[in-house]
Amino acid sequence: MRITVIDYKAGNLTSVLKALRHLGAETVVTDGDLALVEVAERLVLPGVGHFAATERLDATGLTSAIRAAIARGVPFLGICVGMQWLYAGSSEAPAQPGLGYFTESCARFSESPEKVPHVGWNSLEVRKDSRLLAGVEPGEYVYFTHSYKAPVTADTAAVTHYIEPFASAVERGNVMGVQFHPEKSGATGLKILHNFLSWKSKETK
């Protein structure tokens, strides 16, 4: 299994690559070689840091290439800012549009006595038909570190509670995203990445 990991110079890819390789995947990294996206079997968009960094995806043409790959049915997984990018945008960088695959926008956690960022291990309420989160039982924990979050909608695959309920995972067809870091979430995280690696289109058995 070959996974194309997109590097848009927002943080460190080492942990994501390590986890994918641990699960037996061959990894290819691209920071702008569109041909690699055109032949990709599976795409992962990691990302930590600021939403504004996704500007680089537009500047390099990766946004269009990813949009085309998704339309072809290539399984796509966005992690953290990579998940938020699937939405229309984020109040973290209002001038920078996201992919818009999901029409809602991401926003900062509401003012609260709780700390923002949300850092640490928190639990997931998993939607029953989620394929990405298959086998994740109630009471399993994953590792988060973020200040902005996606709203709960019909496409939400898991809800997590911190200050308010938010979408900790999103899934529609071949497009998936997780707000947490599966590569840093122990056995639960590896199970989720394994689900992504073994994801198959329903039409082609």
Partner: protein, 259 residues
Amino acid sequence: MITKRIIACLDVHGGRVVKGVQFVDLIDAGDPATQAARHAREGADEIVLLDITATHEGRQTLLETVRRTALELFVPFCVGGGIRSAKDAAQVFEAGADKVSVNSAALAHPTLIDAIGRSFGAQAVVVAIDARRDPEAADPVRDAQVFVQGGRKPAGRRVVEWAREAEGRGAGEILLTSMNADGTRAGFDCELTAAVSEAVNIPVIASGGAGTVAHFVDVFGRGRADAALAASIFHFGVSSARSLKEELAKAGVSVRLPC
């Protein structure tokens, strides 16, 4: 619900885990990669590897140790000790660390925090503060002083103010070690931890003084810590992070279990 983190700390010297009191009488305690994997398996929520050599010559050994340790570690992994520049930090991230902890170098050049945060994100920068109460001061907690060089030299900064500045510059977490409590096994400095935790909006990791499970309950409650560093407690009766967390859960602390 968000859980309180138990972070296992490994002191590393020359590529080996060492145990000792105040960096003296070091005893070899094994291979860092093996120890880190064991702690993760036994329920630690995160691993901190602290290079206590932190010499220029030791950098390559450290990077190799980080690389080997990170290879099969799938929980957050923080590396500290001797990180003096954004370039040092970049090498440690490249080797597989998720976070770096900076201490003396950040006090000497506070823009180091901004620089690492800009390149790798705030979540990747932990500012470690060695704190000592000033018994002469009107308010020993508010006036607690930052110390450098393993707690030998005052940095001329108040702890709470430095924590606030670090946050403003883009630190993602504060690792607060009480020099007064460290090594006493008489409990964390809960007043100081609470003062820092209330002053900033980023997580505070409490360190120094743990001797019993009750001390952890106390620092997560009264001390308002978001996480606590566990080092010597594993040498004194509590066998693993899991057994510590099972006791914490019984005391009503929210922790990641089963793990």
